[in-house]
Symmetry: C2
Subunit: 161 residues, 2 copies
DNA sequence: TATGAAAAGATAATCCC
DNA sequence: GGGATTATCTTTTCATA
């Protein structure tokens, strides 16, 4: 059974909940112009159909001492299936790697890493990253400032005319 | 007044809430081995002191048709303060740009963009990105697969011996 | 089939120890 | 930090359109 399309009210609900998931259903209902029960049922449906994957708190990494964000591009050696598995399981278990992608182009992997400082990051490269199988070369893009950072995705592809 | 350090129980709470913020305070309390009221008070404190910045729902971008993720590296012209402001206000208002950083190195800006498909992304570059002031060159890193993606940050810098 | 009102149940928030 | 109480919100039920 394919999930139905989202209507304007669903989108309003998702927009609000992507910003603040602590709103009560009554508050949400009022903001989107319907009453409590249908609003609650819509949220249930959005969860059931998988539009909403979960609910998390956003923690302030700076307050916890992670002042740096680095995008590390990794060049990989050819790996056996088993080595690849070991590599990605390793990535999964390194908490400072927040995101990891395989990519097109010169490099093979792009990952977002958080670190307290440069010295720590250098140790991280040698003590963690390079210990993973197949890592041949690492090129790091250090961020200077964060101009935008949101977990909210657009709800509908824009049309360019 | 500087915020106190986090103890082991605070960290357990944050770890759990970074994974699932829909847990009730009673459930959290049980999991971390204290009772309801002190657990609730800790959560309030963690919010008050800014360790918890907010609570959001995570939406499935694939289900909404955003099948691509691209890291766009942008080379910028020298800009006046006013132009810079216009640029970053533009970035803020483009919903497909989820993250934007100023970076060290060859390029000046790194941004994470979501897109439905390649054709859309091409139009996006010409209709949105290039319309921003100062954009001289764009190099795109297209992701092939997402091996890891979490909003959960580590709570304590690891020590490498 | 969808809605809204209202009851029932669960949880959050407060109080006192 | 814990236990008990109250206030608030969530979830279910049911009558209605």
């Amino acid at each position: 059974m394919p999930a139905a399309e989202l209507d304007a009210i669903d989108m309003k609900i998702l927009t609000l909940m992507q910003k603040d998931a602590s709103l009560t259903t009554a508050e949400l209902a009022e903001k989107v112009g319907i009453s409590q029960s249908p609003c609650w049922r819509r949220i249930q449906r959005l969860q059931g159909e998988g539009y909403i994957k979960g609910q998390v708190v956003i923690v302030d990494r700076e307050k916890l001492g992670f002042h740096m964000q680095i995008f590390a591009q990794v060049k990989m050696a050819r790996l056996s299936d088993e080595e690849r598995q070991t590599f990605f399981r390793g990535v999964e278990n390194i908490p400072e790697i927040l995101e990891c992608y395989t990519v097109f182009g010169e490099m093979d992997i792009l990952m977002k890493v958080v670190a307290p400082d440069v010295k720590w990051y250098q140790q991280f490269i040698f003590s963690s990253l390079m210990k993973l199988p197949g890592v041949q070369d690492i090129r790091s893009i250090v961020t200077l400032s964060e101009a935008k950072h949101t977990t909210a995705v657009p709800l509908k592809p824009r049309q360019f005319q």
